[in-house]
């Protein structure tokens, strides 16, 4: 049975039907005027061979083509892109089925950060009253390593609110190179979680090794097509409106192999897109439609997700401000646009501006987590554990986020109000008002352990001290102590025989292998 996710019965919407149509029309117009700059020759040729207006740009330092994509190509692509995308998993119970017309939300980690935030607790004594002391967390940033990625995948495997896994940390070990990074990061993820694994690709040369690894795990190429336990994400269009050479190449190669892929665009309102909502929406929609169109031209029927990661610029630094309210507005808008096209939507929430876990982090992420989840994107990249926009990953924050998502998921349960239920409660009301104490407490118990009552916040302390971090850390250590469901020894041995570049230390059966 695939994972259920959460079906949003009445998704929140910001855009009216007319506004959606206006954005669509503006995007279609933008695709021809001004069109896009394309730095990938093959992509330009593909567009040209299908009737797009393509002209070489003179005076450019690197080869570049001006591409004008006619509406017909876009509408054909929207017709051929699958309405339903399956993201497989090592454990069949973790498969995700995403339907473009069904606002069923799955909560997924990511993105790739460079910095891993360690947490340690120190005891501080009150100078005025040495009998009073508090334990406070201290956060230590350091470079992310492959062992951290394994640790993160393992913990996320055991966080029930997480439906799938995007690698959370960029592996920067000394023996990791551009030529072996992809196989090692995919293996580290796949070997430590049985949930779906999505990642970007560092080197196109590694694509076939990564896919071969996935085929070995899935049981062959056909099995992998049926159960695509890996998928890819590419940001092939750099805002504003430019097909980047290498990521476009990677995108097309993934499309040729028919595995699911996110067509992602991440404009920043104010710098790489207009600061006005209408502007960033028209542009991001044009950029995603351009990517989807290319993907369908390369391989009709390629499973794609409408990927949207818009963000507003900070006014003080012109860096990304994921914590801004507008960023959440853009995401809700994009989810509506994807639904307009009946395509599954990859959306983003929970990314915050602050650098360490704390009040600001909780406020920023919870706000966007709630509103974006309520809009009903199918693939909600909800930034478990991410801090400082996309720069820092902290497992303690991921555990705190899990508690947030337990609340959100509970809130999103369908109301149980029907005749039978009302008959039952009417009887209760009549019985209780006839008693001297007039209290309904006796009726709590039958539902208290049935899951019908939301659990208390799991990191609530006693007394007046705030114990959230300490209790979350206890849970983190308990999760770390749970068993890891690794890939079996024979399959692992075969992977290490056939896939070049894997770090021997990632073989958990080292010395036990039959081969």
């Amino acid at each position: 049975m695939p994972r259920e996710g959460i079906l949003i019965n009445k998704p929140i919407e910001r855009l009216s039907g007319e506004q959606i149509r206006l954005i669509h029309d503006a995007s279609i117009e933008i695709l021809t005027n001004p069109g896009l700059l394309c730095f990938n020759k093959k992509a330009a040729e593909i567009f040209q061979s299908h009737g797009a207006g393509v002209a070489g740009v003179t005076g450019s330092d690197t080869p570049c083509w001006h591409v004008k994509i006619p509406e017909k190509l876009v509408s054909d692509a929207l017709d051929s892109a699958p309405r339903m995308v399956t993201l497989g998993a090592r454990n069949p119970d973790n498969v995700l089925i995403m339907k473009g017309d069904e606002p069923r939300v799955f909560f997924i980690t990511g993105s790739e950060t460079n910095i891993w935030l360690d947490v340690d607790f120190s005891t501080y004594v009150n100078k005025a009253d040495p009998t009073k002391e508090v334990k406070l967390p201290e956060f230590q940033p350091r470079r992310g390593m492959v062992a951290d990625l394994c640790d993160s995948a393992h913990v996320c495997e055991h966080l029930e609110t997480i439906d799938g896994y995007i690698r959370t940390v960029n592996i920067q070990d000394k023996d990791i190179t551009e030529d072996n990074k992809d196989v090692n990061k995919f293996f580290a993820c796949l070997n430590n979680t049985t949930k779906h694994v999505m990642s970007g690709l560092t080197s196109l040369k590694q694509l076939d090794n990564v896919i071969k690894m996935a085929e070995i795990i899935a049981g062959g190429s056909t099995k992998l097509k049926e159960n695509p336990l890996i998928s890819f994400i590419t940001c092939l269009v750099k805002s504003p409106l430019q097909f980047v050479d290498d990521t476009t190449e990677t995108f097309m190669e993934v499309c040729k192999r028919g595995l699911p892929i996110v067509v992602s665009s991440s404009p920043q309102a104010g710098t790489s897109a207009p600061i006005k909502e209408a502007g960033i929406m028209a542009q991001i929609n044009a950029e995603v439609l351009a990517g989807i169109t290319l993907g369908q031209l390369v391989n009709k029927g390629t499973p794609v997700l409408y990927g949207s990661v818009p963000v507003r610029a900070r006014m003080d630094t012109l860096g990304d401000s994921y914590g801004s309210v507008e960023t959440s507005q853009y995401h809700v808008d994009c989810t509506q646009m994807a639904r307009f096209y009946n395509l599954p939507n990859y959306s983003t929430s929970g990314v915050c501006d602050t650098k360490t876990p704390g009040q600001q982090s909780s406020i920023e992420r919870l706000f966007s987590d709630i509103v974006v989840a309520l809009s009903g994107p199918q693939f909600l990249h909800c930034a478990f554990g991410l801090l400082d926009c996309n720069s820092v990953f902290c497992l303690l924050q991921a555990v705190l986020d899990d508690a947030h998502f337990q609340m959100i998921k509970f809130f999103l349960k369908s109301p149980r109000i029907d005749e039978q239920e009302l008959d039952t409660v009417k009887k209760q009301i009549r019985e209780v008002v006839a008693t001297p104490q007039k209290m309904f407490i006796n009726y709590i118990r039958p539902v208290m352990r049935s899951g019908e009552i939301s659990p208390p916040y799991p990191f609530e302390g006693d007394g007046e001290s705030d114990s959230v971090f300490a209790l979350a850390n206890e849970r983190l250590q308990a999760l770390r102590a749970k068993p890891v469901e690794h890939i079996d020894p024979d399959t692992t041995a075969r992977i290490f025989r056939e896939i070049p570049g894997l770090l021997p230390r990632l073989n958990v059966y080292k010395g036990e292998s039959k081969s």
């Binding site: 001297p436 118990r445 208290m448």
Partner: protein, 227 residues
Amino acid sequence: MSEDILDIIKENVIQGRKTRDDMGIDERLSGTPGVLELTETALSSDISPELIIKQALTSGMEVVGEKFSTKEYFIPDMLASADAVGAAMDILKPLLEKTNVETKGKFVIATVKGDIHDIGKNIVAILLKGAGYQVNDIGINVPEDRIINVVREEQPDYLGLSALLTTTMTSMESVIKALKENNLRNKVKVLIGGAAVSDEYAKEIGADAFCTDGFQAIKVLEGFEKN
């Protein structure tokens, strides 16, 4: 035989099953006799009320308290058990009086004049009853003279006053003054509780204790007993 039925009563106290109609936590017990029916059966088997209280009711409540402290149980569980024990105590009380066995004490409880909030007061009453106190809950919005009359007539060991509102908490002070005027103050310990009041306020108006909840009330009463 006596040990068997006492164990079953204890288990039903832990399950919070007052009568056979109550569900408890273990579904397998559904439809089987609860604490009330089992207490009557025990009495008809000539098991002494003291033994029933000690080995079944009190012993069961101790387990419930442990489960509550480890967060396995929540207040609704505690109340269900306390309610079952309180109901059993109602059967046992006349028999105890006949044998001159003392209960833990009489407790009169009321929400003061002008205040109709009673959730906290009711919970405290159930918990105290379950803990073995003889509780007379005289209701909400109770005028000062009625409280004085009840104290005079029933001579309780303890008087509990509850108020939720800052506008009604002043009635507590009036009640204490009236107790003094009627020479009753030194005959009854006064405990106050409710969202509006505090330890500081209790001291200010001359109450004997402020209790944040029913569990603290039990501890306070146990403290009084020791002294």
